[in-house]
């Protein structure tokens, strides 16, 4: 049976393959088996590797502590996946007793009601909602840490937390939000909406889809464990050799990334294959919705980029466990090796974050202005140009590293060039707005907020990309403000707009409008207050990632903190709206926005295989306007 065949749906009987293990496995069994694997590994390794205790004063035994912790963390992840049944499919295939049709249907969640959200369910819609909850959790945890950071910075003197706690807050806030922003658009919407949008029954690899979510899920407790292991002294960039010097908490960070890299690799393969191979009849490339194109380009960029991050984390782990010396100058290693590997991932990664966010906004713009998307081709060229160029710019993060001053010039050229395809994205959006009457709903507000936020982010990026200005601005709060404007402004704003837009299709209800507006304004105004204050102190000379600062920066920091509380309250209100409207919101019609993409042609609840008959496409979905 090929992936393109329509799966058989038994219309009468609910699949309940008796004697099949998969009916008894779920999150709970996964957790139990995960803990058992972790404990066995922990105590097993402990008996082999003597740890640094008061009985053995040999300082090299700190490495053994890292071996034990890393081993236990990976064992937890593998154990959880075993316990939830992730490997049953491949195992049965290996031993020649492939899954039966009934078992496959069962794994797709047919007839299990709400329980399927807690199981290894292959239905892309289930995976999409699981990702949504996961993203909201990460945003909540990361956002809480941001509140702590800003509370500490409200006054000089480090009165709120110690430097150890503060540095951990900064580093863990960073990595939590980066992970959240990478998956915020492609996770919930790339999974739930995209296959329906291209007229497919499901994704190309449904079991890998479930795998990508549950692998990510196992990384979340690992990340949180950093707090109980003493935190981390590095930022989210985890520069070596500080990361080699770091305490046990660093292992949690390293393990999280290594696990997360598996999740994104799997998800990336799935999305690209699905879009390339499973578009419905008539959906030629120039009729594909821009959101699908953007998501595909984004994950296609992620596939080569993230492995270098994983490699850097593996090498850091090896330095910390088996004393390999990749990044230790005393052993012939170099911190620059780490920086290069990291930023070869790090720069494409911010475009992995940006592109889906913008693609969502471009998808919504025609719907809310009732005009075609302006220059669809420019949009595609913009995304493709950004993706292509992004691989060539990484060392602009290293202008001041001293690594290769001769390369500063070439990297400056490539970095400035990225402003050209980025400019095309702006043109597409304002061209769509021009001469239209915007329908003032939350998606439209998000588009306008993005334009403001990303414009500021982009212009400030131009200063940073110029070497002589960067020699002042690098490592200051100016950089922090710049990337918050670009990342939050694009990914978060785009995702919130997308959530309001697709909420009716994912939950059958409309998101509470008034709460949405209140949240929007609190967040956007607060956000601008925080980061304008931060541009100021950065230009005035406050370094970044500092627990304390000179009196000169006092007032702006207090202003930034007030802005942060506004964002916090706004996000809590949004969270309320999402949860409350899920069950008590106004029931939504099938196509509340009058949009033309395929997901609005299916009812809610969306049937298991999305369509009874796959649709045939004859035009792109932007046929708005008088005098087509």
């Amino acid at each position: 049976m090929s992936i393109l065949d329509k799966p058989k749906v038994s219309s009468r009987s609910i699949p309940n393959p008796k004697k099949s293990l998969i009916t008894r496995l779920h999150m709970g069994t996964g957790t139990v088996v995960g803990i058992i694997f972790a404990a066995l590994t922990y105590y097993g390794l402990k008996s082999i590797y003597v740890t640094y205790t008061d009985k053995v004063a040999d300082p090299m035994t700190t490495h053994n502590n890292n071996i034990i912790l890393l081993g236990a963390m990976f064992a937890w992840s593998v154990g959880f996946l075993v316990g939830i049944g992730a490997f049953i499919g491949p195992w049965r295939w290996l031993i020649g007793k492939d899954l039966t049709d009934e078992e496959i249907l069962y794994m797709a969640g047919d007839g299990q009601g709400k329980k399927r959200y807690f199981k290894y369910c292959t239905d892309h819609k289930v995976v999409g909602l699981q990702y949504l909850v996961g993203v909201m959790t990460l945003l909540g945890v990361g956002g809480m840490m941001a509140m702590m950071i800003r509370t500490n910075l409200a006054r000089p003197g480090a009165h709120f937390v110690t430097p150890t706690v503060y540095n951990s807050l900064v580093g863990l806030h960073g990595i939590t939000m980066i992970i959240a922003m990478i998956i915020v658009a492609t996770g919930p919407f790339g999974n739930y909406i995209m296959p329906i949008m291209i007229g497919a029954y499901d994704m190309a690899f449904p079991r890998l889809n479930a795998l990508s979510w549950w692998v990510l899920f196992t990384a979340i407790p690992v990340l949180c464990s950093a707090w109980f292991l003493g935190g981390i002294p590095t930022g989210w960039t985890a520069y070596a050799p500080l990361s080699i010097q770091a305490g046990p908490g660093m292992n949690a960070f390293l393990a999280t990334i290594i696990i997360f890299a598996v999740s994104t690799a799997v998800a990336g393969m799935n999305v690209t294959t699905t879009v390339v191979a499973m578009r419905t009849k008539g959906m030629k490339w120039n009729r594909v919705p821009i959101f699908v194109i953007g998501s595909t380009i984004s994950v296609a960029l992620a596939i080569p980029a993230f492995p270098t991050f994983m490699a850097a984390m593996v090498m850091t782990s090896l330095d910390r466990t088996f004393n390999t010396g990749f990044f230790d100058a005393n052993m012939g290693g170099s911190g620059w090796l780490y920086s290069n590997l990291f930023w070869i991932m790090g720069h494409p990664e911010v475009y992995v974050i940006l592109i889906p966010g913008v693609a969502i906004l471009m998808e919504m713009a025609p719907v809310f202005v009732r005009k075609p998307l302006f220059s669809y081709n420019a949009a595609i060229l913009g995304f493709a140009g950004i993706a292509g160029l992004s691989i060539l710019v990484w060392a602009h993060h290293m202008y001041m590293a001293g690594w290769s001053p001769a390369l500063n010039g070439p990297f400056m050229v490539t970095t400035e060039m990225i402003s050209i395809p980025t400019g095309l994205l702006f043109l597409v959006l304002i061209g769509t707005l021009w001469r239209g009457k915007p329908w003032m709903k939350l998606p439209m507000l998000s588009i306008m907020a993005f334009i403001w936020d990303f414009l500021i982010g982009g212009v400030t990026g131009i200063y940073l990309s110029d070497v002589p200005a960067d020699s002042y601005l690098h490592g200051s709060m100016f950089v922090t403000a710049h990337f918050h404007f670009t990342l939050m402004g694009a990914a978060l704003t785009g995702a919130i707009g997308g959530l309001a837009y697709w909420y009716p299709k994912m939950t059958g209800r409309m998101l509470n409008e008034r709460a949405g507006y209140i949240s929007f304004w609190l967040v956007q105004i607060g956000f601008n207050v925080i980061f304008f204050g931060m541009f100021m102190v950065g230009a005035e000379g406050q370094p970044r990632r500092v627990v304390d600062y000179a009196a000169l920066y006092k007032n702006s920091n207090m202003v930034s903190t007030v802005g942060a509380y506004s964002v916090g309250i706004g996000m809590i209100i949004l969270l309320w709206a999402v949860i409350h409207s899920w069950t008590k919101g106004v029931v939504a019609p099938m196509n509340p926005w009058g949009a033309k993409t395929l997901e609005w042609t299916v009812p809610y609840p969306v049937p298991l295989t999305n369509f009874d008959e796959l649709p045939i496409i004859t035009s792109d979905p932007y046929g708005y306007g008088k005098g087509k």
Partner: protein, 263 residues
């Protein structure tokens, strides 16, 4: 009459342009464009110089200039983007049903072309400006090499120390003579730090594996601050120290007071 009517009714290019700007949305967008562009120009010309520290070297001046003038140059682009957006915002349609469809504009070849070429030109201006500046700093480095004071900067967790080999002193404050080129050879005793004498506008990371170099010439007498610009662990925030640019006489007196010699 039929023969002439087509020529009489077709507008001249001049009429077409004035007609375009008389349209309500275009007129409003133009006013918004002027407002937003002015705002950005003011941001660049007024606020950046206000915020940034005292300029005490050519490199600092260069950094400040870039921030000011790139803002001014990008002001019209920001102006157009924001003008179109705010114009649309002012035209908003409220209610539970969508507004009527707008014109079916799929693309506009000339606009896309102008926009792309415009961005290319802007990028080129930024690139050429930056490359010229980088080059002039490299040339200055070459010219000043012989007359420069060398200072060996060591970043340790969590303090800066400065060794002046020619003067035979080692201190934790950075004092420099005005008008004399200075070359900083920077190294770390442990993890990555970043040497940042703020008012001098230069910066270079301190690494353990290799000595890195940056240079400048202080042009004004006054206090300077040296900060660490790379998170280096527990007391990264406290890895700051004072310094000053002094007259040559004062500098020599200070060197002698530290137990060194002036050559």
């Amino acid at each position: 009459m039929a023969d002439h009517s087509a020529e009489e009714m077709a507008p001249t290019p001049g009429e077409r342009i004035t007609g375009f700007f008389k349209r309500k949305d275009v007129a409003r967008t133009t006013i918004l464009f002027v407002a937003w562009t002015t705002l950005f120009i003011v941001l660049g010309l007024v606020f950046y110089p206000k915020w940034m520290p005292i300029v005490m070297s050519k490199e600092m001046k260069s950094a400040e200039s870039i921030m000011i003038w790139f803002t001014v140059i990008s002001a019209p682009i920001a102006g157009i983007v924001l003008a179109v957006t705010t114009n649309a915002f002012l035209d908003m349609h409220r209610g539970d049903t969508p507004p009527p469809d707008g014109p079916a504009i799929r693309t506009n070849g000339p606009i896309v072309a102008i926009w792309t070429i415009g961005s290319l030109l802007f990028a080129l201006v930024a690139i050429v400006w930056g490359l010229l500046e980088v080059n002039s700093q490299a040339v200055a480095a070459g010219n000043d090499a012989k007359s420069a004071i060398t200072i060996e900067v060591t970043g340790a967790q969590w303090l800066w120390t400065f060794k002046y080999p020619a003067q035979g002193i080692e201190t934790h404050d950075l004092n420099l003579p005005v008008g004399v080129p200075v070359v900083f050879n920077v190294k770390s005793a442990d993890v990555n730090h970043s040497f940042w004498p703020v008012q001098l506008g230069v910066k270079i990371d301190a690494n353990a594996q290799v000595t890195t170099v940056t240079r400048t010439t202080p042009t004004m007498i006054g206090p300077i601050e040296v900060k660490c610009a790379e998170l280096c662990g527990l007391y990264h925030a406290y890895m700051e120290t004072n310094g000053a640019v002094m007259s040559k006489t004062d500098f020599n007196a200070w060197v002698v007071a530290q137990g060194g010699h002036t050559s």
